[in-house]
């Protein structure tokens, strides 16, 4: 048929369009991948190789950088510090925010929106500006050189975003389910604990990932709070290596790559939790 070449599926919009979409994806991916690949490869070079041959493959391959880092005691201690600070921060921020979001989502009371706006305004408060008063406050409470000095402020700054996300999810859960639970004999907290939290698992997973990643990457707060290098977290370690091996850029690259791996691994596991329906099967679909 002479008209057959016009018969495109209505959504495809022609090869040109799909080409341009691919181009966008590839360019975006390059933005992310090139520095990563450069860091991974750089870790296998010596610093001299890096300056003489910054682009090409390592020649010869030098696994000593990675080996040295993995064999060093301070690295594992910092990894442990980062991990438990991240875990505790996440527990605190999710537990507190979930309760607050539950109240904001399911109860009507005077001044609710004003209060919520106040929480949301916390989003606009830059961390760097808060660092000086925060330092004074932490010194007053004796929390300097104490993991809690990092965990509590991190949790506080994580709350606005977490509350906003969780409130949206909690609101989306149909009122009938709450009423059914009430008739089944649930108290409001019982409903929160037995019905709402399990149903909002994807949302909880999402905010947990955000909290962990935020805490993992936090540099400024640990820098200010910790002076004892036994408490240092991974990002502080980067700075230390940098000072110690100011000429050995290759080793810093290897360190960055190794430091990134736990966060990547965690995300790979948690990501499955993020993609699943919120209320599948609860009500008429």
């Amino acid at each position: 048929m002479s008209t057959s070449r016009h018969k495109q599926s209505p959504t495809s919009g022609g090869p040109l369009r799909s080409l341009s979409l691919h181009t966008i994806v590839v360019i975006t991916a390059l933005f992310v991948a090139v520095p990563l690949v450069y860091a991974v490869l750089g870790g296998f070079k010596t610093t001299r190789q890096l300056s003489s041959n910054p682009i090409g493959l390592p020649d010869p391959w030098m696994p000593e950088n990675y080996g040295g880092i993995l064999a060093s005691g301070p690295f594992w201690r910092m990894l442990w510090n980062s991990t438990y600070i991240a875990v505790l921060t996440t527990l605190v921020v999710v537990a507190v925010s979930a309760l607050a979001a539950f109240v904001f989502a399911r109860f009507a009371f005077r001044g609710r929106e004003a209060l919520f706006t106040m929480f949301a305004a916390g989003l606009m408060f830059p961390f760097a500006v808060a660092i000086l008063p925060l330092f004074v406050l932490l010194r007053m409470f004796g929390l300097l050189d104490n993991p809690l000095g990092v965990i509590l402020p991190q949790a506080a700054f994580g709350m606005p975003m977490t509350i906003i996300i969780l409130r949206g999810f909690f609101r989306a859960i149909p009122g009938e389910i709450e009423e059914a639970a009430i008739l089944d004999g649930c108290t409001p907290f019982g409903f929160f604990w037995r019905i709402l939290l399990p149903m909002a698992r994807p949302a909880i997973a999402t905010v947990s990932v955000l909290a962990v990643v935020n805490s993992w990457n936090q540099f400024m707060l640990p820098l200010v709070v910790f002076s004892d290098d036994g408490l240092f977290t991974i990002p502080l370690g980067v700075q230390q290596f940098q000072g110690q091996y100011a000429t050995d850029v290759a080793r810093v690259m290897a360190y960055i790559v190794v430091a990134m791996l736990p966060a990547l691994g965690f995300y790979a596991v948690a990501e499955r939790q993020l993609v699943s329906g919120l209320t599948a099967g609860a009500v008429k679909g």
Binding site: I182, D184, C186, G277
Partner: protein
């Protein structure tokens, strides 16, 4: 099991909207009571007040022998089935059924027994380990019922539980609901806007309109003796036909005249409807059920009390066993506030034709043997024993026992 009594119950929402207005209703122990009415008539609000999900603005609700006005829902010993099922999606069917019992600290063996009994009764045994997402709509509805059954409550409250199902499933679920009620004998309050559901399920049906009780009676009585124009127009499908008419009496006996037709009114009607003779010589609203018509050709009812009227069929709806014949009569359509309200939320199956001038559209339901086609002349017979008469101003049914003295 228990009776439920509502004593002049009011519900006034913030903003002054009166959703339920002085509702008096007694639901007997073991009775299946259906609350029916167009949307926004307050039927769901009434149910939610019985459940305790809404505060009561005035009056008193008694379940069994306890006034429950200030009792929290969980202590009222009632179970509710929601329109959209409201199952807990993260629990299996078994956990869904057991949840309420677990919260009430019932021993494990008893929970297991009740869950199994309910699952057997509802045919859910093979689905016990599944999550609601893996069930069809009908199965989810059954789980929702099961959650109510295992509680063995004083009363079931159901808020349009079938309206999310497709038509065929709704009919079969209706039958199993009936069966279930027969078997368990638990007092049930059932809310629906579907008058067919109301007629088929209810021991008694309560018709509400704008928060005001219109009539409570058995389905057959509602159909045969509606208390006013609203109930008459709302119950029954196709809806009752109305026309302004004049009641006259001459030496041939009493008759009712409308649109050029004249139907004799049997003396027995005057005996059944005290006060009707006071309307002789006055204007009334006449109501005739579509099912009180028959095609004279195929009708056996040639006896006394059947009057003949010739009409021209405008539209025919063939339903297999019956044919709905739509025809116009030379009379202005009745535009009483009651009939308008009833028609607004009735079934949509009425065809609305653009009517020219003073014509109104009537429906007759005749036997399928009639084979009438659109445009054909047909002679209908009317069962004159079942004529309905309404006051033009008040819309009340003339001679209905509830209206005497009003």
């Amino acid at each position: 099991m228990a009776s439920i009594v509502l004593n002049s119950v009011d519900k006034i929402y913030a903003g002054g909207v009166k959703a339920v207005n002085g509702l008096n209703l007694e639901i007997k122990d073991g009775e299946f009571m259906v609350l029916v009415g167009p949307s926004g008539c307050g039927k769901s609000t009434a149910l939610r007040m019985i459940a305790g999900l809404e505060d009561i603005s005035g009056g008193e609700i008694v379940i069994g022998d306890r006034v429950v006005n200030h009792l929290p829902p969980k202590d009222r010993d009632i179970a509710m089935v929601f329109q959209n099922y409201a199952l807990y999606p993260h629990m299996t069917v078994e956990e869904n059924l057991a949840f309420g019992l677990k919260l009430r600290k019932m021993p494990k063996s008893e929970i297991q027994k009740r869950v199994n009994d309910a699952a057997r009764m509802l045919g859910l045994e093979q689905y016990l380990k599944r999550k609601p997402a893996a069930l069809s709509g009908g199965q989810r509805q059954r789980v929702a019922m099961g959650r109510a059954i295992v509680r063995e409550p004083q009363a079931f409250l159901m808020d349009e539980p079938l309206s999310n199902l497709d038509a065929k499933l709704r009919v079969s679920m209706r039958a199993s609901l009936n069966q279930m009620h027969e078997r368990l004998g638990v007092t049930t309050v059932y809310v629906t806007h579907d008058q067919v559901e109301a007629m088929t399920l209810g021991d008694r049906v309560c018709v509400l309109r704008d928060g005001v009780l219109q009539q409570v009676d058995t389905p057959q009585n509602l159909f045969d003796n509606p208390v006013n124009l609203f109930v008459a127009g709302f119950m029954g499908s196709p809806a009752m036909n109305f026309a302004y008419a004049e009641l006259v009496r001459d030496n041939g006996g009493a008759s009712v005249a409308f649109a050029g037709y004249r139907l004799p009114v049997p003396d027995s009607t005057f005996a059944e409807k005290p006060g009707l003779d006071r309307y002789i010589g006055r204007k009334i609203i006449l109501g005739i059920r579509p099912s009180d018509f028959e095609d004279s050709g195929s009708a056996s009812g040639n006896g006394a009390g059947w009057a003949r009227i010739p009409v021209r069929a405008t539209v025919t709806e063939e339903l297999g066993s019956e044919i709905n014949v739509l025809f116009t009569i030379d009379a202005p359509p009745v535009e009483h506030k009651d009939t308008v309200a009833a028609a607004n939320d009735g079934d949509d199956e009425e065809t609305s034709l653009p009517l020219t001038g003073d014509k109104s559209l009537w429906t007759a339901r005749v036997n399928a043997r009639s084979h009438v086609r659109p445009g054909q002349e047909i002679e209908l017979v009317v069962d004159t024993h079942n004529l309905h008469f309404f006051d033009v101003d008040s819309g009340l049914s003339i001679g209905h026992e509830a209206n005497i003295g009003r």
